[in-house]
Amino acid sequence: MKSVAIASGKGGTGKTTLTAVLAWLASRELEVTLADADVEASNLPLALQVHSQTCTAFQGGGKARISEADCSGCGLCQEVCRFAAILSPHPGVFRVDSLSCEGCGHCVRVCPAGAIERTPTCIGEACLGQCRTGPIAFGQLGPGQDLSGRLVTEVRRLGLEAAQERGSQLLLIDGPPGTGCPLIAALASTDMVLAVTEPTLSGVHDLDRLVQVAERFGIPVRVVLNKADLAPEGARRLREICQRQDLPIWAEIPYDPAFAGTLQAMSADMQLQPQTDSVAWSAAAQVWKALARELDLPAKLATR
């Protein structure tokens, strides 16, 4: 099985739209499994009519809690806490700010009165469902929680497991924005990064950062230039940069609000036919063909 992460650095470049359309195209030819690795703003399930989902609470590292009755008011916990998570509303009274607490347990260790315990916390949920293209793994982090990278890893694990069970030939991962912890968790051991970029200055800048991260992990990058006609100068610069860095541009999709609107149509009715007269749709089909060829996927229609 091959796995491909769709990523961008910058948000809003069209990752989820492209993932959904590629999933739709792929599902006509082979078994495909999806994983939405953007657990802070999970949108792929919205686009693909998920049904019969099973969600389980995802436990984080836990948060400290001080029992007021047992607290002697010595303040040692506040002294050792590196995260400014122990508040003292009144002298001698100590409380944990759970949004700041990272659950390291330092306070639990030093409390001479044994008044602090670490209680496990649910930081979100990880789900596996079915949609019209096949299995889909996704998750949602509770607002304000940390450890989003761990939840991403769990969602990837669920996706991989479902793909193996189902005998999928392809795992498509809808990546998170950014270039930090959640992205790195999403990229782990994928075969390829499909970078969706746009010809804005921001898009160019963030593509460069994404490519550097992917290179660090030795993952090849292919580029899709979305909203290509929005800024001719920016598009020209992107083509130059990609050529210089030996990054193949697989397709250029014109700026077409109706293409993004495709998703609304998909969520309403997956029987939707590809709009062969739409330039954006044929560009997406071009991406699918290139993907099938490069990863040597058993896709008959695509390679024909």
């Binding site: 802070e40 703003a41 590196r82």
Partner: protein, 294 residues
Amino acid sequence: MAEFTLAIASGKGGTGKTLISTNLSVLTSEEEGLTVLVDCDAEAPNDHLFFPQGPRKAHPVEVPIAEVEVSRCSACGLCRDACAFGAIRMLGKARVFGELCHPCGVCVAVCPTGAIREVPRRVGEVEILRPAGREQLVLVTGRLDIGQVKTPNVIQAARSAAGQFPARTVILDSPPGVACAAVASLRGADALLLVTEPTAFGLHDLELSLQLGRDLGVPMAVLVNRDVPGDTSVETLCRKWEVPIVARIPFSRKVAETYARGGLLVEESPDFRELLRPIPGRMRGLKAGKVVRA
């Protein structure tokens, strides 16, 4: 300390946070006095692209990471057992995986042979730029190094660097999402402006941001970007949360094109400037507890 700190955020990426942050900063710097724009989107910082000229100075952001002095390690494994983040493994002797280290200091405290100490490690940088020709504007950028993961530390460093300026207004261009990076940017702000768009994705992610803003206790308002005439979906959601809509930016290809080439709309479009002009006053009113409406 700044008189007023305004965070600009959204759950979904690409809704227009940077567009609003850069343009609003130029506006307040011209009309209200010294403004510090802090680019807290440390994984993909882009505000500087709109201010290409001017002197800049960067300093590193360092985080203390646990390090084992192998010759003193007795391989007892206490540090591994104590580490809540799974950052220490026993490979013969103890070894720290720096990316996972939070750094809480627990391993240093439990090590019976004093073999662990914390050593500063660079994770990113903070850059201070004085944009040319803009006396009253400072841009502070937090930038995570490639391959690093300590985004919240970089954001905190950028915010504290911004604190050295006697600013009338500080604008925090926040990262997307609702996790630790967003919290590092939103916490302690006087008001929060959530940028959204009237799509199914935009609405879904707006609700998550509203939840986070409420948990943090920051007064909030919403700006609808790429507004579609007649759309009431955002309004319905905002009514449910009792949060005002302070501005609507109509969908426009011209806005997208200007943004794409790094242009500032407040300087190129008087209409756009008028759309943004009431926002700072309304957000200050929100802090003071007044009812505001677009």
